[in-house]
């Protein structure tokens, strides 16, 4: 299943004009607040009618305003998980979960089964409760289950973790990873949190001021300084995939990454498990010669691909280490002092403890 989207709309102060394809898996729509991310989600769900839109799902045209095709939300089968859960306060968790199934007659036909969904999301014990008695994380999991049980062809998640504290976020992320790995639905994930995007996204579409500024695989876009206007440079970072090799006696985990061997603080994963790491640009140092007497454990031979001076004193340097792309955030003074230029062989230094556990997820 794949989704193709073209939307144009003129707001006061923002001209939205986007077109992108979302292949199966999780497509993250990233960008700063006001970039038009939520508008895109609302148009796809049918909650907001733009000047012009064409949306096709698996080749079948769902929306085409030029041809007068604008079905109402209830006819679209687009599951929507909102930032604030929006559970029905007067219904129990069970009734909330089955609301969409009941409306679409899936209950009568026995197509909606609570069991697999409540197991996937870990909400089986909450069925008899009212939403008022749930924690924020539980509410969001119920909202995801409610959308899944309505039999959607596409799932939209609009910053589903934004209203939660960090502990709740890390409680839900594993469920989202399972959802990504177990369902065949295309999932559009709207977010500006790089940590979530790096862990979940297969494909990333970066929006800035109503336009697509970068699109491609998560590893490509997140390490693309061209997409950085859509991000906060402070949060720039590359995503690499790695396989757990061994748990070492001193509490470190050895990983074979695309760019070479990495040592990280102990990961809760068996040897052979595939993981996804997000290495923030500000945690990567660059050395021209292989440094000696350095405490950092991860030294990856690399080559400079490009140098992108920022507006301030900083610059983002894009590096290729083996098959992996890394981003390093250094000062422009260092760029000059080291003579960093495309093609130059260097060493990338990554401090083991700098990779926060929130930046490590399972690979889909």
């Amino acid at each position: 299943m794949s989704l193709s989207v073209e939307i144009a709309h003129r707001f006061e102060g923002l001209a939205l004009d986007v077109a992108f394809d979302a292949p199966p898996g999780v497509t993250a729509l990233i960008g700063r607040s006001g970039a038009g991310k939520t508008t895109v989600a609302n148009v796809i769900a049918g909650l907001m009618r733009p000047d012009r839109a064409r949306i096709a799902l698996d080749g079948a045209v769902l929306v085409d305003t030029a041809a007068g095709l604008w079905p109402p939300p209830q006819a679209r089968r687009v599951g929507y998980v909102f930032q604030e859960a929006r559970l029905f306060p007067h219904l129990s968790v069970r009734q909330n979960l089955l609301y969409g199934a009941r409306r679409r007659g899936r209950l009568r036909e026995g197509q909606a089964e609570l069991g697999p969904v409540t197991d996937l999301l870990g909400i089986a014990a909450l069925l008899a409760r009212r939403p008022g008695a749930l924690s924020g994380g539980e509410r969001q999991r119920v909202a995801i289950g409610r959308a899944l049980l309505s039999g959607p062809r596409l799932l939209l998640l609009d910053e589903p973790l934004a209203a939660l504290d960090p502990a709740r976020k890390s409680e839900i992320l594993p469920y989202l990873e399972r959802l990504r790995d177990q369902s065949r639905l295309p999932i559009l994930y709207v977010s500006h949190a790089m940590e979530e995007v790096a862990r979940l996204a297969t494909t990333v579409v970066a929006l800035d001021a109503g336009r697509v500024v970068a699109r491609g695989s998560a590893a490509e876009v997140l390490s693309d300084p061209g997409a950085v206007p859509a991000l906060d440079p402070g949060t720039a970072g590359a995503v690499i995939e790695a396989v757990v090799e061994a748990q070492e006696a001193d509490g470190l985990t050895r990983l074979a990454g695309a760019g070479g061997t990495l040592y990280l603080p102990r990961l809760d994963a068996a040897p052979g498990a595939r993981v996804r790491l997000r290495i923030e640009a500000q945690d990567v140092l660059i050395a021209r010669d292989r440094p000696a007497g350095l405490s950092a454990l991860n030294l990856l031979p690399a080559q400079v691909l490009s140098v992108h001076p920022g507006r301030g004193p900083g610059a983002l340097v894009r590096l290729r280490a083996g098959d992996a792309i890394l981003l390093a955030r250094v000062t422009q003074r260092s760029v000059a002092a080291l003579g960093l230029a495309p093609g130059l062989p260097v060493h990338a230094v990554v401090k083991s403890l700098a990779v926060a556990s929130g930046n490590i997820g399972t690979a889909g």
Binding site: L47, Q74, Y80, E84, R86, F88, H90, P131, A147
Partner: protein
């Protein structure tokens, strides 16, 4: 003074309750529809519609009663049509209920509109994305969440219907046992020399009845609010 109500007084009381209940039953569906329209729809002439809804509140009740007489009286086409299908209302207790319903209608719409406006439209959007069409959204989300206000509006309407005087006496007159509700009875007693005692007993009954309705409404609304809050 404090003797239990006589059979004649019971009759007045029972008639008043009957008129009040029928009035609320008649006014409730259109009031809900009008409240939902005013709270959630946008259509041309909405301001005019709003004015029409509130007309019975601002017109002198006698005028409303006279308009009802013009529309539903024995000589009026509408009145004759109702006669023909066996539902005569002119000078009947059902007519008193119609008059009370018309007078209670704007008050009910106001209370219900406020409670519908207080329902988070984002919940209605969520329901739509889950496959609920507009009628289903109203029945499964909007109305259950607006229930405390709907109940309060209905009870307010009931209280108004019990106390309705001007439109009722103009439209269906003051016929003992047929259209003589509590306020009409008070008026009738006051027209007779020495009727003050009977009138006072009626007044006490009216106070008891109104206070009772108010307490019940508070209790029901609180219960409904608790149910909606889901605690």
């Amino acid at each position: 003074m404090f003797a239990p109500p006589s059979p004649a007084e019971w009759e007045i009381l029972a008639l008043s309750l009957r008129v009040g209940l029928l009035a609320v039953a008649l006014a409730l569906p259109p009031a809900l529809l009008a409240a939902h329209a005013l709270a959630r729809w946008s259509f041309p002439g909405k301001a005019l519609f709003n004015g029409l809804v509130h007309l019975p509140l601002v017109l002198p009740p006698v005028v409303t009663g006279y308009l009802l007489l013009l529309a539903f009286g024995p000589q009026a086409p509408l009145g004759q049509a109702l006669d023909a299908v066996g539902l005569p209302i002119a000078f009947r207790w059902t007519g008193a209920a119609v008059a009370a319903a018309v007078m209670a209608f704007p008050l009910m719409v106001r209370a219900m509109r406020l409670s519908i406006e207080a329902v988070d439209p984002r919940l209605e959007q969520a329901a739509a994305t889950l496959g609920a069409g507009r009628p289903a959204v109203v029945l499964t989300v909007t109305l259950p969440l607006a229930l405390p206000g709907v109940v309060a509006g209905a009870i307010l309407g009931f209280a108004k219907a019990l106390g309705e005087f001007g439109a009722t006496i103009t439209f269906v007159s003051n016929i003992p046992g047929e259209t003589r509700t509590l306020p009409l009875a008070v008026y009738a007693f006051l027209q007779v020399p020495g009727g003050e005692g009977a009138a006072t007993r009626m007044v006490v009954l009216a106070v008891v009845l109104s206070m009772g309705a108010l307490l019940v409404s508070e209790w029901v609304a609180a219960r409904a609010a608790r149910r909606v809050a889901g605690a």
